[in-house]
């Protein structure tokens, strides 16, 4: 057996069923060996997109996604995707080849270790045949524990050396045992004290609460304390069956929710980092005390401070303990759960601002509400980043099996690959991606990958033929906003040319019809919706234009 074959066996034993990447002489023997072991490889058109798919896979499964690139030139393509995955805290293992050890003049040489560090990626190198098992185990162990990308680098000459140990590989899951983190009683007492003295509490739930299945416990705590429930962007629409759910806390929030946050005297955060986006650097909650429940040792919030009471705990265990401690004190409050607040929330989602539409275009707000209506709640959703996220991240309201938002690392172009990885993660279940034109164009070639693997993927391109964020900023500064405009071809026709289905939509009816057609028969499809530049996304009206409507 060669080292590359043992490497493949070890990956398979770690539970790898899919790998995402592009073949080259640094990883081809390993990929070949994995294919022979029955692992499915997703051959992509750009290594960074492959890693983005592994990232999307990991965000859904919470297990390490596996990406691969050859060596040097293939590896340096991973940069933006690695940083995005790192910020998303996605567990990943990126297997890469490396120039032969001792040949520093090798044409495709890259200082991989330094590169990985700059990309916030852990680094493990297979230096000798004897260390193969240890190094693979270490890479997967670190990916699981540190919840970030780990690069496993194997020099090409080492991969070809003989491996002669016939002991079975011991996967990282066998050396890693994890139990629930229980809340400290003193911290819990302090939390109870703060909460029982509050009149207008807000519970903010994040991904951590969702992953810990804390939903029912959170709703019970909300009932007892009279809290409204808000989410982070990453937990968007979760628990919105609760009638006092107010949507996202942050710039993607509604005006009504922001008023409630401003008046709030207590925030109970569960599995949410309370970063600068969720709290708008703390300015959304000027009058609140913070009770912060999270699994990490401690978290500094987006206002630069620690919570008034920080409780390190598993989300569900912590919330249940809090609820029962309040019950023991016979604490029960109406808080924010009043008829008046219910009334205020009834029209919270209405965006009353009128804009004159550019000819031949659609109001982007109506595109989102039409899609949310036509696409059943059994279908998952990915939203992109950039200006058009200002529509999708507010106006999509249905709960869906998976709702993933972009924004990690603030880059565009990462959500098409993530959507494709998310589809693989769910065993090929249909998914809709709604993203801007510049973002989709960046990795457009991967739509062909989606066609090759016949993925049930609908890409809705919110197409205003411009770099939206730049357009509105230039406009505010009274500069030539048109400089940010870039034309695109008919992307529906491009999708057809790639072997998928496609439509160009210039009305809400066009959007409804095309989306319904996809719902009836999900497969790789792209709808290019021409949206009006005149409709400014609500977050931009707030940030750039100083308005709150």
């Amino acid at each position: 057996m060669k080292v590359y074959e043992r490497l493949a066996e070890a990956f398979k034993a770690e539970g790898t069923k899919h790998i995402f990447g592009m073949m080259g002489d640094g990883n081809m023997y390993w990929m070949h060996a994995l294919a022979k072991l029955g692992v499915t490889k997703f051959e992509v058109r750009h290594e960074g997109a492959g890693l983005g798919m592994a990232d999307g896979f990991a965000r859904v499964t919470r297990t390490p996604g596996v990406a691969t690139a050859t060596c040097g030139p293939g590896v340096s393509q991973l940069a933006t995707a690695l940083l995005t995955a790192s910020r998303a805290r996605s567990p990943l293992v990126a297997f890469v080849g490396e120039h032969p050890m001792g040949d520093d003049e090798y044409n495709q040489q890259l200082k991989v270790e330094i590169f990985a560090a700059a990309c916030e990626t852990g680094f493990v190198r297979v230096k000798t045949p004897d260390s193969v098992d240890d190094m693979v185990r270490k890479a997967f162990y670190r990916a699981r524990v540190e919840s970030r990308p780990i690069m496993l680098s194997a020099p090409m000459d080492v991969q070809q050396k003989p491996f002669d140990d016939d002991e079975p590989y011991v996967p990282s899951t066998q050396v890693l045992t994890r139990g629930l983190i229980m809340p400290n009683p003193a911290a819990l007492d302090k939390a109870v004290e703060i909460i029982s003295n509050s009149k207008k509490p807000v519970i903010i739930v994040g991904r951590g609460a969702k992953w810990a299945n804390a939903g029912d416990a959170v709703k019970k705590l909300a009932e007892r304390t009279g809290a409204v429930i808000a989410t982070t962007l990453m937990a968007k629409t979760w628990l919105n069956e609760d009638e006092f759910h107010v949507g996202v806390s942050g710039t993607y929030g509604t005006r009504t929710s922001m008023k409630l946050f401003e008046e709030s005297d207590c925030v109970i955060a569960v599995g949410a980092s309370l970063n600068q986006f969720t709290t708008e650097h703390g300015y959304l909650y000027p009058n609140a005390k913070f009770v912060h429940l999270d699994t990490q040792t401690h978290v500094i919030m987006g206002n630069g401070r620690g919570a008034d009471c920080y409780v390190q705990t598993d989300a569900r265990t912590g919330v249940e303990a809090l609820e029962s401690a309040l019950a023991k004190r016979n604490f029960k409050a109406t808080g924010y759960r009043t008829g008046e607040v219910r009334e205020r929330l009834a029209n919270a989602w209405e965006d009353r601002t009128q804009f004159d539409l550019d000819p031949g275009t659609v109001d982007p707000r109506l595109v989102i509400t039409a899609l949310d209506d036509v696409i059943p709640d059994t279908i998952s959703l990915n939203t992109g980043s950039g200006a058009t996220a200002g529509f999708s991240n507010i106006l999509f309201r249905k709960q869906r099996p998976n709702v993933l938002a972009g924004h990690f690392y603030g880059c565009i172009g990462q959500m098409l690959p993530a959507a494709m990885g998310a589809i693989v993660a769910t065993g090929n279940k249909p998914l809709v991606l709604v993203d801007g034109d510049a973002s989709v164009m960046m990795h457009l070639a991967e739509f062909e990958t989606a066609v090759r693997y016949n993925q049930p993927l609908l890409v809705v391109v919110m197409n205003n033929e411009m770099l939206g964020a730049e357009y509105y900023k230039l406009d505010v500064h009274k500069m030539e906003a048109e400089q940010s405009c870039i034309t695109t071809p008919d992307l529906g026709a491009v999708a057809v040319a790639f072997g998928g289905r496609g439509k160009l939509a210039r009305s809400v009816e066009d959007v409804r019809k095309a989306a319904a057609e996809w719902v009836a028969k999900p497969g790789p499809m792209m709808i290019d919706v021409r949206i009006s530049r005149s409709v400014i996304p609500l977050p931009y009206r707030r940030i750039h234009y100083g308005k709150d409507e």
Partner: protein
Amino acid sequence: MIEVNERIDVPAPPDEVWKILSNPRDVVDCVPGATLGEAHEDGTLDAAVVVKFGPAKVTFKAVVGMELDEATKTGQVSSKGKDNQGGTRFNAKMNFGVVDQPPGSAIDIKATVEITGRLASLVEGGAKLVVKYMTNEFSKRLAERVSTETAK
């Protein structure tokens, strides 16, 4: 850095306008959301301004200093401070002058406002528009005040 360059027309002679402008309490009364606090021995004053950036209301606490030159009817107001959460600082300087413009006068205002810290990234271009709105509102209130005072 936000820059303001304004000329406000007021229906009163320069001497009357100067009387109002040289009284810090009268001037602060014309700034939307501002309240004046204690006066210090060095002539500076405490002030607070509530500013609405989009849906977020932020309270800034400031120390205001004023230098006046009666002979040329010009003055300089400088104020700096931070918000009540301590995450954002601002530094504003305003030069003003009253000029004769029969039958009334005009007030020339040149100001710079610098916002640094957490809020800066949050408000981006919006801050400029908020300051512009506040300047317009200030001009309007000042003109109204001058009209009322001189009519007495």
